[in-house]
């Protein structure tokens, strides 16, 4: 009666071949491997980036060093307090550690690249400028002059 009812005498449908499934999945895998990059570090501070419209992309990830600033996450508040702190690599650090950090970032690259390093400041939007100014002064002292204020991109009409 019904169209979908199996007629006992009808032809059996051939099983769908899944032989190409691994190939398809591998293709996806390679796609994702090539367009993404490993997470740099685990955040120990809370960072909500501010918004901006005139952003420029940072082209070469290998030429970027990160400095994180924000209030420590709940788990670290007992040890580090609730005021915004600096995180370098995966450690919460002090201001005077920045010079050493810049030095180690430079020495891990060859001489040419060391000059072209950009320091990306990922700062929480609720942080005060005092700590940011201090970081900038530290960076100037060690001649690390190329910086980038990390922001999220929004359209001009959405900002205000």
């Amino acid at each position: 009666m019904s169209k979908f009812k199996k007629s006992s005498g009808g032809r059996k449908m051939a099983a769908l071949s899944t032989a190409s499934l691994p190939d398809i999945v591998f293709m996806l895998l390679f796609f994702f491997m090539s367009v993404t990059s490993m997470k740099e570090t685990e955040y120990k501070v809370k960072i909500k980036l501010p918004q901006a419209t005139e952003v420029k992309k940072l082209e070469q990830k290998s030429l970027v060093s990160y400095i994180y600033v924000g209030a420590p996450l709940q788990a670290f508040q007992a040890k580090y307090g609730t005021e915004p702190r600096i995180q370098l690599n995966d450690k919460i650090s002090e201001l005077f550690d920045i010079a050493d950090y810049v030095e180690s970032e430079r020495s891990s690259r060859d001489e040419n690249d060391a000059q072209r390093l950009t320091y990306s400041l990922k700062v929480d939007s609720d942080a005060k400028m005092g700590i940011v100014t201090d970081i900038k002064q530290e960076l100037r002292k060690v001649q690390a002059l190329k910086i980038n204020y990390s922001t999220l991109k929004v359209e001009r009409k959405d900002l205000y």
Binding site: T18, A19, L21, P22, V25, F26, L28, L29, F32, M33, V35, T36, S37, M38, K39, P50, Q51, A52, T53, E54, V55, K56, K57, L58, K61, V64, T118, S120, L121, V123, D124, S125, D126, A127, K128, M129, G130, V132, T133, K136, Q137, L139, R140, K141, Q143, A144, L145, K146, I147, N148, Y149, S150, T151, K153, R156, L159, Y160
Partner: protein, 210 residues
Amino acid sequence: MAKELGQINASSQADIAFLLLVFFLVTTSMSVDQGLNRTLPPPADKNADAEKINERNIFIVLINKDNQLAIEGELSDVRMLTDKTIEFLTNPNDNENLAAKEKASEKFEKLQKDANAKEEDLKNYKYLIDHCGDPEITKGVVSLQNDRGTKYETYIAVQNAIVAAFDICRDNFSKENFGKTFDELSSDQQKIVKLAIPLSISEAEPRSIK
């Protein structure tokens, strides 16, 4: 003749590949790093005299600890900042209180006398004079000063508004002379536009603002 081997069952290969795929999806991030690029001034040299800039060529933007904004001494709003900066930089009516301008050819002559001048800059100034009708280059400098208590979010909003002013000026110049927006130009052309409209934001040595 060799014994014929049974085929290896490959049906689990898909599962293994899926597992790898999920692993990479979890551990990687797609986000691109983006933000406002800025070059810090080199460490202050105590012996060197501060370069004297004419009062009219400085556009002072202050942010205090309560995140209030003052443009040239007047309380204002971030929304006004982009327009005011553009007005200051372009100075369309040659107002005496806004930034002075000088012809590209004047700058070119000065640069020719300078022994440290870069070959590329000279070439680009020549291009400006020959192909863009000797545009007037602003002498204006935006001076941004903030308090230690200023919120970072406000600071970035102000930075962004100032950069927007420069970007809009560059876009206009590019459209007039090359018929494209600044982003669509080749890197050589971008260098020429950057000479015509230099990004001059100066951040003062830190101090507190009432």
